[in-house]
Every structure is written in structure tokens, then in C-alpha cells.
Symmetry: C2
Subunit: 326 residues, 2 copies
């Protein structure tokens, strides 16, 4: 396809417009998106050094966007390029400005070392983990040294998205205190680093202490395991950002020396490959095979109660397996 | 399976414990859940009269639970039995008591004509629409005349869940005013009835008027089409509940006379059958075929960059199609 060739050529020139088009193609799963990914990821020597991937998650209003801005500045000062994916699963009901838009507004100067992309979850419904992973790979392939993945913690999303990061930062605020007591198993456990933002507000010390107790209880006596630190920040003033970036460095060193980084990367590749197999399979059945025709013919049987959807599904699968539908 | 036989026998006796077990089986997709559904739905004459299904959705704090309680009381006074599914997709971050639990707490007397079930979306991830539909069918098969489906409007969920209802009620409050301006296409459009709850608060008239303008703009000049009414309620006092139940009756009459009810039911059966086909297919590949083995063997190629996940997926699909993996 001509569009894919143009994008690949744009990647060579490090043209952000090509990256933006590639992400749109992947996010909307438009024709050829998997060929593009296969080509981009396979280009020789493309991903010699995978990006360092940091995820930031937490409740709405915890200050994740401001923290992300601080981290971008920090990495830029060190000469590193930063790609940001802001995943916003919240409905219009709960509001919340698009994080990427906000950051762009506040930093009007063009900096080719920073690329920020907001991703709504609507289009990626049911496949958010996969799409996030694929977009992160595009950012890596484009050459960003740091990839930040910011997401609002709602429902399953933060767990899905955390899978795409090497290091997950859970951002809480003193007001989260009571919520922490009832956090579902799984949410607290994804954190490699806890950030207690807006820590100049009342209740910060108490919540910090509670998290530390929770972490030490969970850790038990496993020696050598990573002990998630609790870092207090005030993102608006920059207080504590140095401690946060130091904690990110320490976690990086831990990941590399413990073999955990390699294990996480392997898990990600396996998740991605499994998802691609399932996706390809669905496409094969619903697009290539004549399942739609069979369904249209026999749907009345289900409507009239002569057959259950489960029996019809089984019959269709048998036909798919026998090759009768191709 | 013995468990399925016991559940079917419990359905005959209208034993709520059997219904609860059936829902758990379906929600967690435990072994045999599709056989159970096929058996329950196929029992002769089982669903002669499908339940009237009403969905309630809206932002957190709009008073959906209190409205649901009011509707339950209304239906019970008319001698109808009511099954309630409360779908709660919100994360622990945003809080929110389990709606079903709350209602149970406030109505401690046992009423065999009411069954309330909370469903977290965690287990049903990616398949919430299907699971909601399947649980609604269980409630129908059990014999409830009214099925209420209550969900918090977050992200995609309210759209998924609305699909399972005949009539969708969108519950807003005066504070939703600004949010309504920016509501995504699709969210406002699912409403057959708008409820403006807490309408004794400032801003109710203004918001009600805005919604009416929006509805009339959307409707255009299609004659005979349903014009979604705006009903003002104060659920805590019961004000406006009579108007709401009257609007539900009017919409029912419209659904039946216009053919829309039949069309919605057909859509639901088609959605369910398609989803069951996809689910069966996935199970076939991931459980029956030897895809796991192939994946384990070749994952290192992907990790080392000798092959992309997309090429590996294609190769696996080819093997599945050729029958080489069975």
C-alpha cells in the first residue's frame, strides 16, 4: 500500500507527521495496520535499544498530567527524547480534559524531542492493552528513548495499560486515603513506585504511612524483591520530582539486574502475539469465511426458539473447521 | 453435569439460590455455562413472554439506585416480579457502593418477587454486553416480568449495557448541565427517556430545556418516530415517579406498535450469536488446538526479532486452518 510506504519513509526522516499517521492507522485498525507494524518493527536494527517505558496511573485529579509534564522536562534536560501516550477511558460524564491537549497548550514551543498523543479508549474497546502495546512499539521504533504512558485509573484500564510499562507509578493524593482501604487486589499491586502527590495537603503523612505498612505486609520476607517506595511530591511546584526520578533510576537498575525487565518484555511479546492470533482468527471468520451468510439464513431459527445461539454457534464452528465456508 | 441438572431443577421450583448459582456460572464463564444457557433457554415454553427490560444509566451520584428502588416498589405494587442487574464498572478509585447491596440493606424483608444482583465488570472484561444479555435471559427464563438493568455511565459500558434493554432511561442531574454540552455522540442518543433527577435543585429547568432542544434538533422531521420525553423527578421523595412509569408505559406501547421491539430483539439475538461464535472459536483455538505449544516453541524468534508477532500469528492461523494442530 502506498500509505504504508509513505509512513515508513517518514519514519526514516523522523517525521512526526508520519508517526501520527501510523498511530491513527493502528488505533483505528485500518486496512494494512498490521503490515505497517510488521514492517516498522522488523526494519533491521530498528529497536536495538527498546525505550524505557514508564506508566503513570491513578484517580482523576491526582495530578498525573502535571507530573508527566515534570518528567518530560526532566528527560529533555538530560537530552533524552520522550514519547507520551495519554489514555483516557473516562466517559464525558466524568469530564477531564484530554491530557495531551493540555500539555500541548501549556508548552506551545515546538520540541521535536517530545511527541504527545491522546488515545480515547472507545476505538480500542476490548483491545486497549494490545493497542497501547502496539502504539508504544511505534514510539520505540520511531526512536524515543523514554515512553510515558499516562492513564486515568478507571476499572480495568489501569491494569491493561500497566502491562505495557516497565515501571508503573501509582499516583495518589491525600484525599485518596479512604479509597486505598478498599482498593481491589491488583490495583495496589501493579505499583512499582507510589507517588503521594499534593503532599502539602493534610493527611499526606498518614496515607504515606499506611501505604508503607501495606507494602511491607505484602512483601513479607522475600529478600532481594523490589520494595516499592512512597515518594511525596507537589507536582505544581516541582517538590519531590528529583526523588521520583531517582526512584525511577533505582527501579531501572533493579529491573535490569534482577532479570525482571527481560521477563516483563517476554510477557508483553507473548500477550501481543496471542492477541494478534485471536484478532487474525476473528477477522478470518467474520470477513473471509461466509459466516455472515449462514448467520443471516439461520437467525430466524434462534429468534423463534427452534435453536439456541449456542447450538447455532457450534454448527457454524463445525462448518468453519471443515472448510465448508471458504 | 450434576451442577447444571441441579440448577435446572431449581429453576423449576423457582428457587432464587439456583438463579444465583446460574448467574455466577455464566458471569465467570465456568465449565458448562453455555450448556446451562442452552438448556435454560430451550426449555419448552420457557420464555413465552419475554420480560420487559428497562435500562437505567447515567453519571455516578445521579440517583440511579434510588430510582431503581422506586421502580421496584411500583412494579411490586402492580403484582409484577422484578429482576435487577446492577452493573458497576467503576474502579475502587472512584468509589460507589455496590448498588444491589445498598438496596438489599434498605429492604431487609424477603420478597421472593424481587431478585437483585450486582455484577462487577472485571470478570466480564471485553464481553460485558454479552454477559449482561446472558444474565438478562436467565432472569427472563426464571420468570421475572420486569428486568431492570442499572449501570454507571463510564466509558463504553453504558452503550454496551443499553443494548440489553428495550427501553433505556438516561438519568441526569442539574449538575450534569455542562457535561451534557460535551456528551459524546452515542451517549445522549441511547436514551428513550431522559430523567432529570434531583430536579428540585437549581439549574433543573435550564437543563431540561436544553435537552428538549437537543432532542427536537436530532429528531428533525421524522414523523411517527419516538420523541424521548424529559421527566423531572426527585427520587428521594418520589416526586415524578408516576410520570416516569407513565413514560415507560408509553414507550412500551410505541415499541410494540412500531415494530421496534421486534427489531431490537432481533439485534440482540444476532449480537449474542455472533459473540458466542467468536467465543467458541477462541476457546477452540486456545484450548483444543495445540496453539500454546507452537507459541512456546516460536516465541523466542519474536523476542529476538527474527519474526514479528504478525508473521507468527499468520503462520499459526495457517496451521489451524489446515487442521495440523488438532
Amino acid at each position: 500500500l502506498r500509505e504504508i510506504a509513505a509512513i515508513l519513509e517518514g519514519f526514516e526522516r523522523r517525521d512526526p507527521a508520519a508517526l501520527a499517521r501510523a498511530i491513527s492507522l493502528v488505533e483505528n485498525q485500518r486496512a494494512g495496520f498490521e503490515q505497517l507494524l510488521a514492517r516498522v518493527l522488523a526494519a533491521p536494527g530498528r529497536i536495538e535499544t527498546p525505550a524505557r517505558r514508564t506508566g503513570l496511573t491513578g484517580p482523576p485529579g491526582a495530578g498525573k498530567s502535571t507530573l508527566t509534564e515534570r518528567l518530560i522536562r526532566h528527560f529533555r534536560e538530560r537530552g533524552e527524547s520522550v514519547g507520551v501516550i495519554a489514555v483516557d477511558p473516562t466517559s464525558p460524564f466524568t469530564g477531564g480534559a484530554l491530557l495531551g491537549d493540555r500539555i500541548r497548550m501549556e508548552s506551545p514551543e515546538v520540541d521535536s524531542g517530545v511527541f504527545i498523543r491522546s488515545m480515547a479508549t472507545r476505538g480500542a474497546h476490548g483491545g486497549l492493552a494490545v493497542t497501547t502495546e502496539e502504539v508504544a512499539r511505534l514510539l520505540e521504533a520511531f526512536g524515543f528513548g523514554q515512553v510515558l504512558i499516562e492513564t486515568v485509573g478507571v476499572g480495568q484500564t489501569e491494569l491493561d495499560v500497566a502491562g505495557a510499562a516497565d515501571t508503573t507509578v501509582l499516583v495518589l493524593v491525600p484525599e485518596s486515603g479512604d479509597a486505598v482501604q478498599t482498593l481491589k487486589a491488583g490495583v495496589m499491586e501493579i505499583a512499582d513506585i507510589y507517588v503521594l502527590n499534593k503532599s502539602d495537603r493534610p493527611g499526606a503523612d498518614k496515607l504515606g504511612h499506611e501505604i508503607e505498612i501495606m507494602v511491607s505486609m505484602r512483601r513479607g520476607s522475600r529478600s532481594g524483591a523490589w520494595e516499592p517506595p512512597v515518594v511525596k511530591t507537589v507536582a505544581t511546584t516541582g517538590d519531590g520530582i528529583g526523588e521520583l526520578t531517582a526512584a525511577l533510576e533505582r527501579h531501572r537498575t533493579y529491573l535490569e539486574h534482577s532479570g525482571v525487565l527481560q521477563a516483563r518484555r517476554r510477557q508483553r511479546v507473548e500477550m501481543l502475539t496471542r492477541a494478534v492470533i485471536t484478532r487474525t482468527l476473528k477477522r478470518w471468520v467474520w470477513e473471509a469465511a461466509r459466516v455472515d451468510e449462514v448467520l443471516a439464513e439461520r437467525l430466524d431459527d434462534v429468534l423463534d426458539g427452534r435453536q439456541s445461539p449456542y447450538e447455532l454457534a457450534q454448527a457454524v464452528i463445525e462448518q468453519v473447521k471443515s472448510g465448508a465456508l471458504e
